[in-house]
Symmetry: C2
Subunit: 369 residues, 2 copies
């Protein structure tokens, strides 16, 4: 193999596929980035068996070929080379020479014979959304997946396609995050449970521009994201997702309208009194026009007051402060609406159009102050 490309193009490509290089693996070949120069196209490939990424880079092929290079070393070298054209040439025993200006590296390479290529994904069914929307919706739901191995479904995020709507859902047994996105046309019904980890990695690669698109292809086993010069394939989590709709209730006894930023800051303040690993609830004392935010722990006590608009009954209700903060942080509205039934039933944070719904279970607390 003998190729030439610009440092910046190569570095961009390397940084993309690096996201699919496993940090730990028993298959040492997967610690490599595979460079494939064939049919006039230079591709970089990496695969950790859960996700695989393939990206094209612009360049000149002087001799077709394939080489596998240690991903960490290769990426470090590309990063540290001067700006300019980089040439990569393989020799005897897959020894590889990387040249840029007056700098030259010689590295051992591997044939790549035992490299695991990306699975073939049939391109029958797909939806198209903007990179911006995909990036946003991942950020707005990924925090409430479970990192617990006991239920693999909770480690995934549901992408439910129905008519012209994409509903994205994550839940961990204590809370549910739901986002609704309007699609540009109607599609057949389909539920995909995509591993949260895969979505976390693609989120790092997406540029997030509104004008750029992502085509999402899916089969029963896999999902394929196609954008810019890159494709990423992830396996899907198999199984029947939770009937999260059952949690919905149209009734409430207390409705609160509150400034989101003030609310976050007040809860954050209260968490200073919670020791790592402790499960102290923050207690909301909802009265007419004012809400008390308070927390008592062995470290000390805090209370704070926030002006609110209230409809319905007064209420004392306790929450895991982390759950409230994480949901509030991914909402963009300046003012939010919270719907509550009683101190034991979940609260709903939702906008009037139901573009988002965050459901959080309360925590019991001792009402003696």
């Amino acid at each position: 193999m003998k190729i030439k490309c610009s440092k910046s193009d190569l570095l961009t490509g390397v940084n993309i596929v690096l996201k699919a290089v496993p940090s730990k693996t028993t298959m040492t070949i997967l610690e490599c980035i595979l460079i494939v120069a064939e049919n006039g196209i230079i591709k970089l490939i990496a695969n950790d068996m859960e996700i695989g990424i393939e990206t094209r880079i612009d360049g000149e092929i002087n001799e077709n070929g394939i080489i596998a290079l240690d991903a960490k070393l290769f990426s470090d070298i590309v990063r540290k080379l001067p700006e300019g054209d980089i040439s990569i040439e393989t020799g005897e025993n897959f020894t590889t020479t990387i040249k840029c200006m007056k700098a030259k590296f010689n590295l051992p390479g591997k044939s790549g014979e035992d490299f695991v290529y990306l699975p073939e994904v049939k391109k029958d069914e797909s939806i198209t959304i903007s990179q911006y929307t995909l990036k946003e919706v991942i950020r707005q739901t990924i925090f409430s997946i479970s990192d617990n191995d006991s239920n693999k479904l909770m480690k995934g995020i549901l992408f439910e396609i129905k008519d012209n709507r994409l509903t994205v859902v994550s839940l961990d047994g204590h809370r549910i995050s739901i986002r609704n996105i309007e699609l540009r046309k109607n599609y057949g019904s389909r539920k995909l449970i995509i591993p949260g980890k895969s979505l976390g990695e693609i989120n790092k690669i997406l540029s997030g521009e509104v004008e750029k698109e992502v085509n999402i292809f899916y089969t029963d086993k896999h999902v394929l994201f196609e954008f810019d010069k890159t494709i990423m394939v992830s396996r899907l989590i198999e199984g029947e997702y939770f009937e999260y709709n059952r949690m919905f209730s149209k009734n409430y006894n207390t409705k609160v309208i509150i400034n989101r930023k003030e609310f976050i800051e007040s809860i954050e303040r209260s968490t200073l009194l919670v020791k790592e690993g402790d499960k102290k609830p923050v207690i909301l004392g909802i009265e007419d026009e004012i809400m008390e935010v308070r927390l008592n722990s062995t470290i000390g006590s805090m209370n704070d007051f926030i002006n609110i608009q209230k409809e319905g009954a007064s209420l004392q209700i306790g929450f895991n402060p982390k759950f409230l903060i994480e949901a509030l942080r991914v909402i963009d509205d300046e003012e939010i609406k919270i719907y509550m039934m009683n101190p034991k039933e979940p609260c709903f944070i939702s906008d009037d159009d139901k573009k988002y719904t965050y459901i959080i279970l309360p925590i019991n607390f001792n009402t003696v102050r």
Copy 2:
């Protein structure tokens, strides 16, 4: 005690004294920040027994008093309070109430009876330099102290005052860093060995402005830095510092003039082939007008060429790449001059005015390529 001050003033003060709060200590009182409100002055104090810091903050005293508050908790709270006036009031059993706008914290405090105040330092002898100069000179020498406990002198930085010159020296047995600073007037001769750790902490506090000054007072046991609203006291390391001047030599066989940035980048590239903990030298092959930078390791090999100006003999010489990089990084000159005798004697990197001299011992290497 009852005081009131602005959040920003209090936070600035807290961040300064935090540098003297020990991360580990058997004296729990030292985990506190002491607040002293007396004689119309509010002071914050912290002390880890090696360094002690005291800073004044503007504010209003409604009732004199002293209170010790857990440093981490208190600083976290101040940081998270809204912008506005903060009032701190102590009650029964040293319970302390911190209020800001509608937010209120109640914390347990301590009397501070067993707090260790800063040692008294006589203000007989002192020099004055700008904050900028002190900050720069610490940065330019602190990297070559030793973190090895076997020789405590090597953990300090020498401040040698003589006539109108301050010479700052650090060394670790493999290299020496020397900086010379011209003082505004003549002073009596004095050698201070200041712990590197103390200088590292003061470096984080100094604003580094050219117009602001630092008064440095010293006795046989202590050094006191006075700047802005802050004083910091550090103990000195006792003993006789190394006669670093003996290392100087006026002779050289090879002199190289090289672009500093190109040289750093080339050495950095070579270190990609060195495994953590390995001691592979980078080898400089000095010829007329060109210098080869090369490194061979089990990972691979690299060579690079840099245009230079050379006087004297050609030379092959090996160095610990880290030592070269660290010295080169703290020099500001675009072009630097390196003086060498032979592959076994130290090289000197120095400017014509001897404002700086960096001496580095070479490493033996196998000349077979």
